[in-house]
Assembly symmetry: C3
Homo-oligomer: 337 residues x 3
């Protein structure tokens, strides 16, 4: 979508140094930007490339503005400013309201007149689809689900049952929300399934990535707070509570009944065991597994980084021989005394 620099600056409420009339058509990378594009300078490492930019305008911090050879959009947080301008230039694809003739909507479902239900989507009884929602092609909305206004389920999303979402959610393809939690009681005859009768409650402005799964509660609900961001292939088990604005990168796995605070960051392949509580503002580094309560904000880690396999094998062997090393040091200390 073509927008003038002036309009972009007005809408995102930031200072423009340059012509308001310049028309912008796209965002671009710092090195790839042409005369119809805006780009941004957030990472100081790219500063040396600033004089050579061919962009129409650069979003940058006040301290960098004087060095900008083209129009400057000045903002204390260039990346957030970029995000907002990119949303104006590249609005999300949306559809005309209406139910596609190949979709199946139960007679007992309520679908807003302003909602879109795509080809081959299925909406079961007792589901409620709010204003401006989009239920993408092949998606399934099971019984007793309530989808808040403006929430979009892209293609092939599955809401199993009893999932309630807030407004403006974005659920990516392959995500499965409200599947049964993993509840089994061992008996002499084998596992007995523990029925999972709770639901899932999702706040406003939540985004859930491709092929992620959020299970329903065993009893009571699994709760995802406002503004939570889940990447692809994330797993939230039954009865977890994820605090507002917490973000979890791919493969983050949270076991059952764990409560996580607000504004936490889980890096890729990290996770937490069940039945623990993690406070606000905790950062969990990549591949780290949290095994007990955390009540102090800060960063937590438990993983090793790759080394050449030969060197690593020596580390492993040394760790295995640590018991003997402790003994040897003990012997030396005894001899000394």
């Amino acid at each position: 979508m073509a927008i003038t620099l002036g309009e972009l600056a007005d809408q995102v409420d930031c200072e423009l140094r340059g012509s308001r009339e310049t028309v912008i058509e796209t965002v671009a990378t710092f090195s790839g930007a042409g005369p119809n594009a805006i780009t941004f300078l957030s990472n100081a490492a790219y500063k040396p490339q600033l004089p050579d930019t061919r962009a129409a305008a650069v979003i940058l911090k006040p301290a960098d503005a004087d060095d900008c050879p083209v129009a400057a959009i000045v903002h204390d947080d260039p990346y957030a400013c970029y995000a907002r301008m990119a949303a104006l230039l590249h609005p999300a694809l949306t559809h005309q309201p209406g139910v596609h003739p190949t979709a199946f909507v139960s007679e007992d479902a309520v679908v807003s007149k302003t909602a879109y239900v795509g080809p081959n989507a299925v909406i079961e009884g007792n589901a409620v689809i709010g204003d401006g929602c989009e239920i993408g092609p092949g998606s399934y909305v099971g019984p007793d689900c309530v989808i808040g206004a403006g929430t979009r389920l892209l293609a092939n999303v599955t809401f199993v049952r009893a999932v309630t979402t807030g407004q403006r959610g974005l659920i990516h393809p392959g995500a499965v929300i409200g599947g049964d939690g993993f509840g089994n009681a061992m008996t002499p005859e084998g596992w007995v399934k523990v029925p999972q009768v709770g639901g899932v409650k999702i706040g406003d402005d939540v985004e859930i990535g491709c092929n992620s799964t959020v299970d329903c509660g065993a009893i009571g609900d699994t709760v995802i707070g406002n503004g939570v961001r889940l990447d692809n292939l994330v797993m939230i088990a039954h009865n977890c509570r994820i605090g507002d604005h917490t973000a979890m990168a791919a493969y983050t796995g949270i076991a059952g009944s764990t409560t996580i605070g607000s504004r936490c960051l889980f890096a890729g392949k990290s996770g937490a065991v069940g039945h623990i509580t993690i406070c606000d503002d905790v950062v969990v580094t990549g591949k780290t597994m949290v095994t007990k309560d955390i009540d102090t904000p800060g960063a937590y880690a438990s993983s090793f980084a790759a080394e050449p396999a030969k060197d690593w094998a020596k580390n492993v062997a040394r760790v295995r021989r640590l018991g003997k090393l402790f003994d040897r040091v003990g012997d030396l200390e005894k001899d000394k005394s």
Copy 2:
């Protein structure tokens, strides 16, 4: 579903101390239970709350029964008893038999008259759908699949081809069963795909979680035993054999041709490399990777727990300096002698 206490006790075959006529409508948590609910006391940590329960009845062990202020359902295994009563109070959602008009069923498929085939489901040629099966909306049952009586594929499940299941299976949304194993032969011109011509054989009473994948065998079948429980995002590679009643939590990954015994437990993010054998009754802790045969039942581990990142960084640095530490201790020992 409303059921009297007497009927619940009869059906699950356990002792009731209290009025048989009390009507129960739901299960509830210990603290959330009201007068229409049963709850259970399994974990001693909750015992102090027992006197204050507002539940209609509590399922508990004989030793706790005298302290129960309301009706007591007495059983040696309250959790298993709870699971069975919950199944009576909250029966799984089922559908009327019949093929939905939007479903596509190949002329060469055989679908029991008592089976349900949901909206937009697809059943290919040579597939057999047994009595009382449910093939949920958007699910795909490929050629040469045989689905045993009472097995339910919830929405958007994919059975690629040559998958045979036993009875009473439950397959959650997004699961993909019978996809090609990862077989590739390297050549000077790049990878050559190794055709995966085997199938998948699944026993009775198996549950497979959301977005999990079980690949077909390269030659011969991948085998999932009776009563196996797979959580979400589990991966079983080609030609694995998983023993009866083994349970695997989310992200458990088993590489190709590995054989796993009965009643094993794999915690989240654990796994095993390919071409090994693990005996019965092995417990693999979270994030642990089994790399060779295990022939002794018991617990196995290889993961570290999260620590504050600064402390962890010191551990990592020390492990890296272990070689030098061994040398220093060796020098001290030499000096001594």
Copy 3:
């Protein structure tokens, strides 16, 4: 499909010692092969079973040919030869061209007359489906996707938008290609979504496993080279570049903007952080996380193997006490001097 040994040998261009007329119907394992089957001897461990084989023919190396009691197909690389013969004997299931009446194809899409579009598949506007392509049941091809000739999307695959593939691709069920990358800018009001406006470019002869996800670029494209092989549940984040013929086993996760060379091998549950570069011919072992650039081919590792949990707990405790051990050794050294 029944084929004579002579024809198999001709088509794969290798030496046959035995009757050209013998009819082969199937491949089989070394121990399971009967008189209508070929098998192969690649791993020397199986050599002792060679005299007892009941196969019609064995594919083996020149050095083993004299010991073969049945027809011998002689090739320097028996496994690759097997792969090619198996593809002849067990050709991939294909469909008649045409659009199934239950599929939905946008008026603005272009679908080759020789392509197959299965039941309940959906093809959006501006998509192009090449000659001989197969868009399987329940699959979704979003706007601006271009599918190269002969590429097959099996059931329930999702191409979100702006995905371009080369020829002869094979995409397994549940895979989601072109979903939004995980781009978020933190602000005082919470996360602001960073629009993901790039696409995905996939080379020729690429195979992507069940429930894997490849995100679109934030700006510019995510790139998957020719001949790349991704197993199930793999995650490729936005703007990654994966070199030709690189293979990644299940759960391999590559964070954003990382570039990986050609012919790399990532074992199960391995991965790499974002914004790094890994050169050609790197092998990353199971569960290993690469955290910085690698510019030397070879194997890299960072994981421990399972031990009995008691032994492992001692290792963990010793690592935790390493700081003190370093101090004690320092004290001993001081005393000595």
